[in-house]
Amino acid sequence: MSPALLRIENLKKHFPVRLGAFGEKAATVYALDDASFDILEGETLSLVGESGCGKSTTGFAILNLHRPTAGRVIYKGENIAVFDEARMRPIRRDLQIVFQDPYSTLNPRMTIGEAVGEPILFHKLCSKAELPGRIERLLADVGLPGRFAQRYPHELSGGQRQRVALARALACEPKFIVCDEAISALDVSIQAQIINLLLDLQEKYGLTYLFIAHDLAVVRHISDRVGVMYLGRLAELGTREQVFADPLHPYTKALMSAVPEADPAGERTRQRQILEGDVPSPLDPPSGCRFHTRCPIAMEKCRSSVPEWRDTGAGHFVACHAVP
């Protein structure tokens, strides 16, 4: 197994909800609680789960774009979760992010060339004279012709803009990219192009991805390891085979049973397991195991005590009292 690029320990992010004339703290959104996992060098780790389960918050907290409430993010031996913006700056070069909505991630007032060139100049990665060549190479990397450098974002399609966003992230020569639903807003055909592009770039530059998604078919296609989240907590994490073929957590089982199969014979015999009820509010998450309100095998213990996050062997992590 490759060494860990990032080690996340008990990471928490709670958002205060302020209401009233004096901004009293009225409630807390428990967006992310006690997440611990490693991100290995060169891997694609996917985080899946329903909307609002804390996948994106995890990505933002790792990059310190949302300052974590508690916990540690270890990068190169240092806990970057407590770094201020000035200390984060050199590290931001290594850790990049691509967002979901290609229509709003680019500044509408900057040309593509300016957008891609900005991080290069800011981090002083090359001289002014080399810049145009550098921008052209980056655009070529993401499959765009160099003349696009003169264009403005509003002249491009969604897929083209997502390529530009990727080129901009690559401009810093990062080691790690968070793909925060990076393909969810695109057409299916464009999704395939961008996924292939991501895989090509990973191979070419040895990138590590944290791939945040809800499309399980895509996740199965590209991931080395998969983490499953439910209501701000990690339920299960393991290799793609472990999670898809041998899910341990009842939530993962229900989730996996929802994936359609390409093989018609398999699809006919697929047993769907429908969960009852709705996801509880993260403002007031259930006690004990957060899944116990909807879990088909919930026990008395699940109401009172939080299941421990543990390795069941071979790097297959799960948080469930029912798993031996």
């Binding site: 967002f99 991630t105 500044n107 991080p119 800011f122 981090h123 765009l144 403005y152 966003a165």
Partner: protein, 317 residues
């Protein structure tokens, strides 16, 4: 991977949003008409008084209340002063007041609004309370109160200072007029700018491209100057253009009521006020300043509408 769909952008020259907006503006006839009228008025304000043979104050009691003629283009008033010269000088008054008041109001409004929007929290609450409070006071009343309570004591103080020091600076009380007009009007004009800028900053602050810029490690200064300001300034431009027109109307209204610029300094407002008394006999004394004021209002409102359509194309129609 096929490259065909990637080449979908045509080969015509790239268009920045600003140039795009300019293109839309000059295709809009009303906006162009407004722009031309504004430019003509601005030219008149800047150079007008130099172009007429008459001083706006010089009286010619032999030619009082003369109708329009080649000698006096717009006739003369009850003291034989050339109305054309006075209207030109009034244009200058209107522009000076409008520009200074708007500049003051924008400075106050942008500073407070941007602070409130950017920092949020308690700053935001206090500033917005203050803004709402100011907005809740009737404009006219506030200006009248300020002028009525401050003008007399200030003038008196100037007079005693002049008598004591004989410094010519204290003899010219016209500056008090302007100071009070500028000050009181800026005081009522800034809240809309503060609200606009706060809303803009709030909305832009949460856009993904700001997070993306932060993720690249860019400094707050770069994010503000290259990301927030260029994207926030469009609505502000529209608002300033409309605000200039409003300030001119307000100045005229206050001068008309006698709480603005005082005679003998010509302002459209006090010219209308003078003309109103004798309009049955000398209609041109009322018509000329009223028409010019009307044209100025129309010009700024056309230009403002045009700018709005040009800068926020999705919001129109």
């Amino acid at each position: 991977m096929s490259s065909a769909p990637l080449l979908a952008v045509a080969d015509d020259p790239p268009v920045s949003l600003w140039r795009d907006a300019w293109g839309r503006l000059i295709r809009n006839r009303l906006a162009v008409a407004g722009l031309v009228m504004v430019l003509v008025l601005a030219f008149a304000a800047a150079f007008g008084p130099m172009l007429t043979p008459y001083d706006f104050l010089s009286q010619n009691l032999d030619a009082r209340n003369a109708g329009p003629s080649l000698v006096h283009l717009f006739g003369t008033d009850d003291l034989g002063r050339d109305v054309f010269s006075r209207v030109l000088y009034g244009t200058r008054t209107a522009f000076v007041v409008a520009i200074v008041v708007t500049a003051l109001a924008v400075t106050i409004g942008v500073t407070l609004g941007a602070t409130a929007g950017f920092f949020g929290g308690l700053f935001d609450r206090i500033i917005m309370w203050f803004t709402d409070m100011t907005m809740s006071v009737p404009n006219l009343l506030l200006v009248v109160v300020i002028n009525a309570s401050l003008k007399a004591p200030l003038s008196q103080w100037m007079e005693t200072q002049y008598l004591a020091t004989l410094n010519p600076f204290f003899r010219e009380t016209i500056w008090i007029d302007f100071l009070l007009v500028f000050g009181s009007m800026a005081l009522i004009a800034w809240p809309p700018y503060a609200r606009l800028v706060r809303a803009q900053v709030l909305s832009i602050r949460s856009r993904p491209y700001i997070t993306a810029a932060r993720a690249l490690g860019l400094t707050n200064r770069i994010i503000l100057t290259r990301y927030v300001v260029p994207n926030a300034i469009g609505p502000l431009i529209v608002s300033v253009s409309a605000g200039l027109g409003t300030a001119m109307v307000l100045e005229s209204a206050f001068s008309f009521l006698g709480v603005g610029v005082n005679p003998p300094t010509p302002s459209w407002g006090n010219m209308i006020s003078d003309g109103l008394r004798v309009w049955q006999h000398y209609p041109h004394l009322l018509a000329v300043p009223a028409i010019v004021l009307g044209l100025a209002t129309v010009a700024f409102s056309f230009l403002g509408d045009g700018l709005n359509d040009a800068l926020n194309p999705r919001g129109s129609k």
